[in-house]
Amino acid sequence: MKFNADEIASVIQQEIEQYDSQIDVREVGTVLEVGDGIARVHGLTGVAAGEMVEFPGGITGLAFNLEENSVGVIILGDYLTINEGDEVKAMGQLLSVPVGEAVLGRIIDPLGNPLDGKGPINTTERRNVETIAPGVAERQPVHEPMQTGLKAIDAMTPVGRGQRELIIGDRKTGKTAIAIDAIINQKNTGVKCFYVAVGQKDSSVAAVVDQLEEAGAMDYTTVIISGASSPAPLQYIAPYSGTSMAEYFMYNGEHCLVVYDDLSKQAAAYRELSLLMRRPPGREAFPGDVFYCHSRLLERSVKLSAELGGGSITSLPVIETLEGEVSAYIPTNVISITDGQIYLQPDLFFAGIRPAMNAGISVSRVGGAAQVKAMRNVSGSLRLDLAAFRELEAFAQLGTDLDAATQSRLDRGYRMVELLKQQQYSPMNVVDQIMVIFAGTKGYLDKVPTNKVGEWESLFLEFIHDKKQDVWDLLDQNKDNKDAMKKADHPATQAVVAAIEEFAANHKF
């Protein structure tokens, strides 16, 4: 489109005519030294911790360290253009980012600047990046499910809206894949998604964005990027700014899902800043307040009380471990902050069990209350059964002769493991999940060869959707009934059993 220059000129002229000259009062300081994303400033006597400051050329910074004779400032931008002796101006306000509907579908940096070339973020609303989490009276317990669309997770470690569920594992174990599937599964649920990429290769983020676009998930998703080439201060604030954007929707009574990918890189960025600022290093050279850095972030994921609209932020923080070392500093910290963790293991991953979730040490501390009732009825003991199966499997490898009961438990276990495998980027509806897990746990798969379980599943779901949509609808209506799929005489249970038997009669494996 073309612009009319005269019209723009008239607006500018109007502004100049109305301009009311005022003396500009500002608190200033002088740059003493600058480098590595931080600056030391003399002056700025009245500056508050966390206040924004401005360097020449419009680069902003944050007052980070208030010392006796100088102020340590973290620079949110290109620090190479700042020189010793430059004037620094206190702005008298805290760091904020643009929020609102306009950020959805966009790819932005942690300060809210667009990176996708789709023009400016068209919003006038802003929120502070650092806000205090809601208090006890403003919350309510987690009670609604947040379906991830992954059978293994929705059945064994269910996530509720307002929960913080950690995804932890070594590199290349499918951590991001779980988060992306969870985002894709929020399609048509009204849940707004935020994917915060911290310290990642820009190529991996581009691949994630491609996947989201392909799945049609970018319409309700915001991607906040501070890649591996961004300065440490931007990597440090990225999760907070992503949360601020989500909070806007939460306080308007809507639901959000925030993925922090990943918090170990953010902790490393914070360590870098703290060491440059000469804060004393502690364990693994992290500063003393690295726990607070994560706890105050994750405390902002909340299920708000009904009076405040009942909105929620569910967060899926990601932590990368080294050689499965969960007892390192940052993993233990974040494990203790979150409401459960999904632990991904490389050996499972390479054995083809994907998602490579270790059922034994993965937990969800609050999600059980939020799980769909019918799902709880079919998967109640699944996690413990699978853990017991792993033990039995290890024992069976000794090659001893097994009695029939043990052998049948082993066979059931092999089939359940097969059944819980799932392709990437293909989240499943909860009703589908309930049906197949029901079939598995009740022994309807015992006659299906282990290597045919995947085939059975896809054919069975095809059969249900093509020929038994009424059964599907019945279960969908009854999924929150506490007797559904539990009592054999419940109509939904009866209908599903009948469908499974009909399918078994017509299909031989």
């Binding site: 612009f3 607006v11 003493l32 002796g85």
Partner: protein
């Protein structure tokens, strides 16, 4: 409008701690002798007027290789015209090998004295040199506003184009033409951008 001028060098964090200790000591000694203002003025004159002119004298007094007797002799010969308190102080500074901190000591002593006597230093920047008469006028005006006794230091900076920039402590009151122009520019551009975003049609040229 970057910081410039000899009295406005970058802040020296490392020497500041030492400077504060020595400055307090000097003020205490001068107070006993009842010549505080005189001593501080003389010290400032040494730092500003003498040492930059005689870099070799500075090097000699700072050098650890020159024996103390020689330094004392030089100090006696050079500064015996001044007050005895200052001469003794300079010797003490020399003996402790802290002559390199003299600039910081002088600046801190001046600041401490101003703080004690309720005097504020105001830096006024103008585009061109201002006649002395205006200084007096400014001084009384600012004194009334700040309710303190005011010492004015003037600087010129052609970049501000016109008007006055007054700096009290770390607060800058910027009434310069350059700043006003940049403010007009910023608000005009912001407003125009906002209006364009609100109603694109108004600014679009018809394709026909």
């Amino acid at each position: 409008m970057s910081a410039s001028g000899s009295g406005n060098l970058a802040y020296d964090t490392e020497r500041q701690y030492i400077g504060t200790v020595y400055a307090k000591g000097l003020l205490g000694a001068a107070e006993k002798a009842n010549q505080v203002t005189q001593v501080v003025d003389e010290l400032e004159s040494i730092v500003v007027d003498v040492l930059p002119q005689l870099p070799k004298l500075k090097l000699l007094l700072e050098s650890p290789r020159v024996p103390m007797e020689v330094k004392e002799k030089v100090l006696n010969q050079s500064f015996s015209a001044g007050s005895s308190v200052l001469l003794t102080f300079l010797k003490v500074v020399c003996r402790h090998g802290r002559f390199d901190c003299l600039r910081v000591i002088s600046r801190t002593a001046t600041a401490l004295l101003q703080e004690q006597t309720g005097v504020v230093e105001v830096r006024v920047t103008t585009a061109e040199l201002v006649p002395e008469s205006m200084h007096e006028e400014l001084k009384t005006k600012l004194g009334q506003i700040l309710e303190k006794q005011v010492v004015i230091r003037t600087e010129t900076d052609a970049d501000i184009l016109g008007g006055l920039v007054v700096r009290v402590g770390d607060t800058v009151f910027d009434g310069s033409v350059a700043n006003q122009l940049s403010q007009i520019r910023r608000t005009a551009v912001d407003q125009a951008m906002q209006q364009i975003r609100q109603s694109l049609d108004r600014f679009a040229v018809d394709a026909s």
